[in-house]
Symmetry: C2
């Protein structure tokens, strides 16, 4: 049976119920840990489920930040230091990743508190998550404020990229499922995936076929 809720129904829901429901309906979410550092060299790590592809030429990735929330340190560090990392949440670290959303006092690093390892490498100023299989070093490009609800779209360019060599396909597709990356739902759901298919480029009056691209190694 189908349920229906109008805007009025939605507004009348108890606040936490409404938050969980509305967070569910956009579909599955990316799950990433964003690593930053401040001027006093205190590292910060926070889980985000709003990382979104913006473009490949140049390679731009965005995420939504709520400036008045626990995510405030992430945003402050990015705007001041200009560099940050984005690290995939995988099966082996999803509980530690979730724990980074706790509200720790300033001066404490979520890396230590959640049990993850800050990895400084390749002259990059911001810390990577050592336990994450797919890692990006990002250069901050632009903050776009969304006046409607006080959130911001934070845009950066990919300047470093690390991934397991055996996950790359010859056509450029990176098999993040093979890399152990999880998908998210609502505010607290963590999901493994099983690929059903990759589908060929769609054209009018042409049947779709399944793409099979060999791994590069």
């Amino acid at each position: 049976m189908q349920s229906y809720l109008s805007k009025t129904h939605l507004e009348q829901l108890e606040k936490r119920q409404r938050t969980k429901l509305i967070n569910s309906i956009s579909g599955f979410k990316s799950l990433n840990l964003i690593g930053t550092i401040n001027e006093a060299c205190v590292s910060n790590l926070a889980i985000f489920n709003s990382v979104v592809h913006l473009g490949a030429h140049p390679a731009l990735i965005g995420f939504i930040a709520r400036p008045d929330s626990v995510e405030r340190h992430t945003l402050e560090n990015i705007e001041k230091m200009k560099y940050y990392t984005i690290n995939h949440v995988s099966q082996t670290i999803y509980r530690q990743a979730h724990q980074t959303s706790a509200r720790y006092p300033a001066g404490q690093s979520e890396f230590e508190e959640a049990g993850l390892t800050a990895d400084y490498k390749n002259s990059f100023i911001a810390p990577y998550v050592k336990e994450s299989a797919i890692q990006m070093g990002m250069e901050f490009k632009q903050r776009v404020d969304i006046d409607l609800n006080g959130t911001s779209l934070i845009i950066g360019e990919v300047v470093q990229l690390y991934f397991p060599a055996n996950c790359l396909c010859q056509d450029g597709y990176l098999d993040i499922e093979k890399g152990g990356t999880l998908a998210g739902s609502s505010l607290d759901g963590y999901h493994e995936t099983r690929r059903v298919a990759r589908l060929s480029y769609a054209k009018p009056d042409l049947n779709l076929s399944n793409i099979i691209s060999p791994y590069t190694e």
Copy 2:
């Protein structure tokens, strides 16, 4: 073994390889069909993998549009008609959903061409996808242009919401996995999911527990 690509390496990749790789690295993606109609009552349907949660109070959802692409009709219709629908892509319709990305001539509806059913209901002007289990009626709120690469963030408010009654949990979590919703990867990957856990609200010095919230029916 870990592979590393610098910004320079990324820029030197063959263009289609680069597009597939960069589209892979943001993580898993939501998969939604956006339904619109124009003033001549021609319906339009297009698949988007960039729908993102913006806020629950009010219930705002955004997506990224590339105004010079096949997505142009979607954007034109939304700006002119002010209402549109967002419909989850599920296991039973993922091939039809992918087919909507073909470049059909103006005047042809992707509903008919891809084999999906336009469902006009509850006095809403834009067509829902009948075969989709989770459907939202959206009111257009704002277009935020991203000058860095000519894309736009299109923001709307949820004014109608339909879902299978047996997917709603008592705490407000909507079990979209039970509803058959798929997750996307890169430009062409379709994935089923298996939930590993729902995790409790994180606090410092408190162990996480698994949330078990009964279905409302």
